[in-house]
């Protein structure tokens, strides 16, 4: 697969498979196209060359509800400032066709250490708290099988990083797949994350 952004080529000949139970750590220097690759895999944009396949089928030939399997946490948290944390997470759950109950959201927020924030308006939270609330989607029951996470450790303190590591490991243990970008080291070893380095597929100027 090859991709470009704004007419500028980003990478070429990229070919990898994300399997059940696997964690892939996507690396690369700034501007290599890590976020662009995540958006391609989510079906938000199309590759300049090649194809993205899900379960052996190109995305455009997959059943319309293939996105139920997917959870994409982008760099932006997708939490509305004027909603409470509870309302924002219920809405994001409803978008995926799985409206979580209040207790499920409460439990998910507790996992990320922000359970006491559930009635707070998003605008009143710090960046780190917002990130934790956005990542609480991963802790909801029946979360999607494929996680695409764009810099999930950004703005998290040590406690938040530990909680996220736990979620990633648990997800992998149950056969879920994760592709994440991170400038911070991914330190857990069970399962050992595989690495795809976009610098190896960069198109030299």
């Amino acid at each position: 697969m090859g991709a470009q952004r704004g007419g500028r080529p980003l990478f070429k000949n990229l070919d990898f498979t994300l399997r059940a139970g696997q964690v892939i750590w996507l690396r690369g220097r700034n501007g290599r196209g890590k976020t662009s690759l995540l958006r391609l895999l989510a079906g938000l944009s199309t590759p300049a060359r090649g194809v993205v396949q899900c379960d052996g089928k190109p995305l455009d030939q997959c059943p319309p509800d293939w996105r139920r399997w997917l959870l994409y946490v982008a760099h932006a948290n997708a939490l509305k400032d004027d909603l409470t944390v509870l309302e924002a997470l219920r809405f994001l759950g409803a978008l995926q066709g799985r409206t979580p109950s209040v207790s499920e959201i409460q439990q998910a927020l507790d996992t990320l250490g922000v359970g006491h924030m559930h009635q707070a308006l998003v605008r009143t939270l710090s960046q780190g708290q917002r990130r934790r609330c956005a990542l609480a989607r991963l802790a909801l029951p029946q979360a999607a099988a494929i996680w695409l996470l764009d810099e999930p450790f950004d703005a998290l303190d040590r406690e938040g990083v530990t909680a996220l590591h736990g979620l990633l490991q648990e997800h992998a243990r149950y056969g879920g797949s994760t592709l994440l970008t991170s400038h911070q080291d991914v330190t857990f070893r069970d399962p050992m994350p595989d690495t795809v380095d976009l610098d190896d597929f960069a198109i030299s100027a």
Partner: protein
């Protein structure tokens, strides 16, 4: 698809309720802009009655354009738009829900204010009725066309101006038939033909605009 439609609709209405000042701005603009005309033209009732339909409809159109500019910009800025487009159901439901929410927040208050505004122009009760009925049929069309324009110009530097340039020509038939209905009633004629054409425009845009808007959103976010 219905669940997605309702989720987006209820969220946007809730957000509007929490940002009351923002939600009231189109109505305030409409009332202030319309009130300038009697002050500028003078108190001659015959003249005011003559210009009233055009003035009210043009101000309603501009008020809609004012409010529709940010229909998708906020969702794009905070990452919500990507999540909306990732929903397993079609993005058509998202586009439709956003337009309905916009109409309920921005269009409906204009309809409620129309009889008051009409009195400033000394419109007769039948003409006021024609104004309200015309706005009832026409303002949803403006919201649907505005939503399409907002999606097409999403992320562009001069998006606001471009949106107006795109939507105003498309909205001209609404303006013509809406204002024409009031003028027809004022001159003692039937406005049924105008209402029929407005209804036809509403059906055509309700069917076509959400599809076109969802396609434009996907292109704008690529």
């Amino acid at each position: 698809m219905r669940a997605l439609f309702l989720a987006v609709l209820l969220r946007d209405l809730r957000l509007a309720a929490r940002r009351r000042v923002d939600a009231l701005l189109p109505l305030v603009f409409f009332m202030v802009a319309v009130s300038l005309f009697p002050l500028g033209v003078g108190p001659e009732t015959q003249t005011l009655r003559h210009i009233a339909p055009g003035v009210v409809w043009v101000c309603a159109l501009l008020a809609t354009m004012l409010s529709v500019q940010h229909l998708y910009a906020g969702d794009q800025a905070d990452g919500s738009l990507e999540q909306l487009l990732l929903a397993p159901q079609s993005a058509v439901a998202v586009a439709a829900a956003k337009c309905v929410a916009h109409w309920l927040v921005s269009g409906w208050p204009l309809i409620l204010a129309a009889p008051v505004v009409g009195l400033w122009f000394d419109l007769s009760p039948p003409a006021l009725g024609a104004l309200v009925l015309g706005l009832l049929l026409g303002t949803p069309v403006l919201s649907l066309l505005g939503g399409l324009g907002a999606a097409l110009t999403l992320g562009l530097r001069s998006g606001g101006m471009l949106l107006i340039l795109i939507v105003l020509p498309l909205a001209m038939p609404v303006l013509i038939f809406g204002a024409g209905a009031v003028s027809a009633v004022e001159s003692g004629q039937s406005a049924a033909g105008h209402y029929s054409l407005l209804a036809a425009l509403l059906i055509a845009t309700a069917v076509g605009a959400p599809w076109a808007t969802s396609a434009a959103l996907r292109i704008s976010t690529e």
